[in-house]
């Protein structure tokens, strides 16, 4: 017997699950931005190379979706704490959800449809990328 039907239970449960996932995802994101790629080399072709592998696309998409829903959920729970805001709950919720929906749509549109033109990658080939390619080939 489960009472997930009681309003709020799912949101509460989801907040904990998504939060735990996000901790892992953001940790990986920090590692990849600062160690694997480096902040100073976040050029177009680095992204292109990174998103060549579906793994990174899925990772980023997950982070986007979980992060936005977790965030929107959290903001909603903050808003619910204020009686004055709750009078206009419907508008506020629409506003928050619209923002996160738009962000998710834009973000996933970028992640899904991003396909670098071969030429542009070649055009912006940087020495750093080469170095990394070499180190990759050593393995």
């Amino acid at each position: 017997m489960s009472y997930k039907k009681v309003p709020g239970t799912f949101a509460w449960w989801f907040q904990r699950i998504s939060g735990s996932f996000l901790i892992i995802l953001i940790f990986i994101h920090f590692i990849d931005v600062h160690f694997i790629f480096g902040v100073e080399n976040l050029e177009y072709e680095t992204v292109a190379e990174k998103w060549n592998k579906p793994f990174w696309r899925i990772m980023d998409a997950l982070m986007l979706v979980f992060g936005m829903i977790h965030g929107a959920n959290g903001i909603e729970s903050i808003l619910l704490d204020y009686k004055k805001i709750r009078k206009y709950k419907a508008y506020w919720f629409f506003f928050i959800r619209a923002i996160s929906a738009v962000t998710i749509i834009i973000g996933s549109w970028i992640i899904v449809t991003f396909s670098p033109e071969e030429g542009s990658v070649a055009k912006y080939e940087s020495p750093v990328a080469e170095m990394r390619d070499e180190s990759g080939s050593h393995e």
């Binding site: 904990r16 939060g19 735990s20 996000l22 901790i23 953001i26 920090f30 600062h34 902040v39 100073e40 976040l42 050029e43 177009y44 072709e45 992204v47 986007l64 992060g67 936005m68 965030g71 929107a72 959290g74 903001i75 903050i78 923002i99 962000t103 834009i106 973000g107 549109w109 970028i110 449809t113 991003f114 670098p116 542009s120 055009k123 912006y124």
Partner: protein
Amino acid sequence: MRYSIKEGMLSWLLHRLTGIGIFIFLIIHVMGAIYLKIGPEEWNHHVELFNTPFFRVAEVGLMGAILWHGLNGLRIIIIDFSGIRTSHFAKFLFWIIVFLTILLMLPGTYILLKPLFEGVAG
């Protein structure tokens, strides 16, 4: 007369503030990614921003916020699901995560600010 702010209330206030901050950053971050669709040059111009000293320092703040929010989130999950008597345990966990946040901030700050010092040195 004000209610005095103890460990639990402080962690809750910080959790809210960092949560709101991270949410806003995330929106801006995703919107920035639109440059990827606009074109390589625009994107590269955009990411140069990440290398400015101001952004580096701001990123230390972001890292602190994310660390606090994440660790405090874990603390809340532990309190909710462990079934251990909360009063002292919650405070103990609070100081644990204060310690962990500072501990993880040290290497993180070093990594984030290293290029700055290299830039100064260079």
